[in-house]
Amino acid sequence: MNSEIQNKPVKFKRLLILAVVLLALLAVNLAIPKKKIPPYVGVRTLKDLAELATVEYSVTKIVSYKDVAWYGDRKILFAAAATVKAGIDLNELNDQDIKLDNDSAVSISLPAPKILLFNMKPENMREIFNESGILRSDFSNTEKDGLLSQGEKDIRAKVGKMDILQRAARNARILIESWLKKTGFTAVHIVFKGKGGRP
């Protein structure tokens, strides 16, 4: 009985110390601002290009995502569209790639075609469906951007597997042949260095 009476102030003292520690930590918490990565703004740069785009693909994709949880679901659906241009990089063309037989015949070895441009314009994107359960937060702008970025990645990968590079090569051949014939060459022979290109 005696020891219990003696223990009480000790317990209160302990509680008081804990409360003081808690208050001190609360003060520390309030003093520390939430970490935010400062926006990095890079240097604006102009760069020379020498690319000839010969084909343009317009593609579409439905970007859908279902976030299923026991406390409610969230579902979102976008219609996204992209423009992809492919062609050849004339910077890769050097002296050895052009051979003149005489004034009217020429052989050109063109660089392998590649995808030159990928553009997903915001005006071509639509939010078709967006629904969140009562206990769930709505999709934030960051989340929507993240989902559309995944859609972008998927379109890039799938377009790379289409016949865009073959078409780009065929069109580049037709285009350069016609220009050279306009400049007076009667025999034009075009070949491509290597195959493929970057996806």
């Binding site: 520690v21 859908s64 400049t183």
Partner: protein, 201 residues
């Protein structure tokens, strides 16, 4: 009384633990509570990519302008409840300029022996590219709808276009186009190459 004190002690200890964790999460040393409970990597569903159109083009890209821009929508007040909302994002992308060679006609190329004259249309902005991966949300306050965010993204594209023009993209583009075609025709054996670029209308 004894039980109440014990419970209070446990609550205080838990609160202390939370207060120890919270500043570490704030400075990024520990993951935030939200990120622990959030679905770590949302995966979009597998859907096909459909080709809508294939177009034969003849565009010569001669200049690119890389830009990064911090876009601030400013504080927007919702009409009914007068709530504040704001979006700040970083946009990264490029502006591409050059020539549309499909505008070349029979009369655009004139050859006389070892000399050639090529008449090009004026250089113009061909594409402004800021893809979804090029947008990085920095601050998002209030509920920003998709249409609103789309409007801000389109605005950022217009700013990129304007910045590129101010940096002289079209002048550089014309210069590079001239140099590039001169080099190409000299490789084809022409001794005199004259590239004439039409004035922008």
């Amino acid at each position: 009384m004894k039980k109440i004190l014990a419970v209070l002690q446990i609550i205080l200890l838990l609160a202390i633990l939370f207060m120890l964790y919270s500043p570490l999460a704030k400075i990024g040393l520990l993951p935030s509570l939200g990120s622990i409970f959030r679905n770590p990597q949302p995966r979009i569903d597998e859907t096909p990519v459909i080709i809508q159109q294939v177009k034969n083009i003849a565009q010569m890209f001669t200049q690119t302008f890389y830009d990064e821009y911090v876009y601030d929508s400013g504080i927007i007040r919702t009409p009914l409840l007068k709530l504040n909302k704001r979006l700040i994002f970083i946009a990264k992308g490029e502006v591409i300029s050059g020539f549309d060679l499909s505008e070349l006609s029979e009369k655009s190329i004139i050859r006389r022996d070892k000399s050639i004259v090529v008449k090009l249309p004026p250089a113009r902005i061909l594409e402004v590219v800021i893809n979804p991966s090029g947008f990085d949300t920095f601050i998002e306050e209030g509920e920003i709808t998709f249409e609103e965010s789309k409007k801000f993204h389109e605005d950022a594209r217009r700013i990129f276009d304007r910045n590129a023009r101010e940096k002289g993209i079209l002048r550089n583009s014309s210069e590079q186009g001239k140099q590039m075609l001169e080099k190409f025709f000299r490789l084809l054996g022409f001794e005199s190459v004259d590239i004439i670029i039409a004035e922008a209308g």
